[in-house]
Symmetry: C2
Subunit: 375 residues, 2 copies
């Protein structure tokens, strides 16, 4: 698959995943509770044990409010105005488990739900809601030693700015002052930014929990903004995506800065790159263009590698390819099989009952992390 095809596939998947819910069957259980992503003290939105979401918005003089979550293709959930001036409504069906972005259309204008926290996606801060997943324990905040997420500002000559990145350092990093750590560079998707993996992805909690259970050797994660060329305003911009600008920031500026300012093992064998969706596309392009930079590759709902394009390059220690079962699982599994057949250490992972959304990527990180830096 060439990058043009990949771009079109990613864009189609993104577009298709904006409104997502199962067809409703049977009775709605009245065990609704506030979503875990609500702002302090806010009762709504709520979620029930079947994964239905319920919304309630005050707008006494408004004529219409619609929520962009609900049944795909039917324009989301239309709220109904009550005599008390509150609009309310419930999704027609149960939602996929995990995190969903959404917003409101209030009398023709786009606004966020004042009840929820905001998450950067679709190049804007969107409302977020969490449908509790049956396996949510692996990204839960627990009473275990916690690593830190540091905001760093690094100088970037190529863009003439001070750029922001977030760096996860594992528990004990500040105490074990002579120890050096491998590093995973982990990219967000189109329309998101460097906050995504720790905010909606819970990458830090996934790591804390894996480390507490002794399932991985601690490593550092670095997350920065990947939309360095002018693609941020419209998805169509991805068609003209060029990797050069971001590649320069990442490999010429950020990697050296991290190696100089954190206790890293600063070589290829201890450096990984992975990304979700567009971040997978970036990982694919950069690992092929700079094969001496990273030894572990991860594409999370972000395309595949073919044996042909890897030929004659320094061999990756691991090629991890994943997606949700509602995306293109056959494509991912077939790609991994072809790579294995050609002698590569390829691993595929399919997240059950999820689409192009963050639960797919949380689970992917959980599967990827134990495979990294094994020797």
């Amino acid at each position: 698959m060439n990058s043009k095809c990949l771009v079109i596939m990613l864009m189609a998947t993104l577009a298709g995943s904006i409104c997502k819910a199962q067809t409703g069957t049977g009775e709605i259980k009245e065990d609704f509770r506030s979503s875990s992503l609500n702002q302090p003290g806010q009762e709504y939105p709520q979620v029930n044990s079947q994964g239905y979401a319920r919304f309630r918005i005050k707008a006494t003089k408004s004529d219409s409010i619609r929520v962009t979550l609900g049944l795909g293709g039917r324009g989301g959930t239309k709220l109904v105005k009550g005599t008390d001036g509150y609009f309310s409504g419930t999704t027609e069906g149960s939602m996929d488990e995990g995190f969903h972005y959404y917003h409101l259309i209030v009398d023709g204008g786009i606004f966020n739900d004042p009840g929820t926290l905001n998450y950067y996606g679709s190049t804007r801060w969107e409302s977020g809601i969490e449908i509790p997943a049956h396996d949510q324990d692996f990204y839960a905040l627990k009473d275990v030693p916690h690593g830190n997420v540091q905001q760093i500002l690094f100088p970037s000559k190529s863009t003439n700015t001070q750029r922001r990145a977030f760096v996860y350092t594992p528990p004990g990093y500040d105490k074990e002052r002579s120890k050096k750590y491998p590093v995973l560079y982990l990219q967000h998707g189109w329309g998101e930014d460097e906050t995504a993996w720790s905010n909606q992805g819970h990458a830090n909690l996934i790591m804390d929990n894996l480390i507490a259970e002794g399932k991985i050797k601690p490593f550092i994660i670095v997350m920065t903004y990947g939309m360095t060329n002018d693609i941020k305003m419209k998805p169509g911009g991805l068609r003209d995506f060029k990797i050069d600008a971001f590649e320069a920031v990442l490999t010429d500026e950020l990697v050296p800065y991290v190696d100089a300012n954190f206790r890293t093992v600063a070589d290829r064998a201890h450096r990984a790159m992975a990304g979700l969706s567009m971040g997978g596309m970036e990982t694919h392009l950069i690992t092929l263009a700079k094969p001496d930079e990273f030894a572990y590759y991860g594409l999370l709902s972000g395309g595949i590698y073919t044996p042909a394009e890897l030929k004659d390059k320094p061999k990756a220690k691991l090629i991890f390819i994943s997606c949700g079962s509602k995306e293109n699982p056959a494509g991912v599994n077939n790609a991994a099989a072809a790579l294995k057949e050609a002698g590569y250490n390829a691993v595929s992972f399919i997240s059950e009952n999820t689409a192009h959304e963050f639960l797919t990527w949380r689970r992917s990180l959980k599967e990827l992390a134990p495979l990294l830096f094994k020797d």
Copy 2:
């Protein structure tokens, strides 16, 4: 002044500072530019060189949109609907320099301006706008060495949670591995949270710039959530404010955690506490209740100390009291004079032409920092 009086004073000031603008005189200059706090790619809101703010919101089918910024007491700025379905309007007068929280009233409902970034204040994520200040250079993002802002999660037995704090470590902290640093514990105001001082306060940039200019010796800043009892939903809750819960989190849990996990000089002489508004009230109560814990005290628009209440306690190395010139400058200056008269090292600072808002506190931090940990 006892705490009841202080609480009422703080609440009155908070209420009065919600809508703030000078009376308009003369012509409005048409040199409007996007506010520096806009979301990526968003043109509005805009600000002109006189400090007027202009808003533009799409809501084709809405009847009325009002912005809670404008002339105090007149209910903010009413936007007018154009034939293109966009509402627009300009504040009646110029706004105070610096950062302002606001939100929209859209057809009777409270929503944020989709054009701006959000900042936690008034117990909700609010829209933010920045009127460029004539002295904004001291908190600008410059090409100087930058410290990091780390999110830490620390165990809290008294509240049975893993609590969040942000820790500013100065440039060089990770390189100079044997150096130990003093610590300032810095608190937000009512309705804000632990994100306030680095997001809207730019505490990290103020420190980076002071350090780059050689004006201060580097120290660590720790910022955590101070509304630990149930006061978060309504300002009236402050009347029943009890410090015990937060005092336990801060002095029994957070200070020991920071001393164990960061390279601090872990004694009273190298520990300061300061806070803005309600955070000043907390500083006042905790430094009096635990006089062996902190040696430097800072109240930023957050009340005063009297010689009587400090009598017979270990002497503070510094008492810093500040406010905006539109608050109670005489009260602050008189309090400092009385403390000096009684033999205390007291310093007052008045921020010119600002009220109970963040420019007052950015400037206060800039003045306070060089006075800390001098011996």
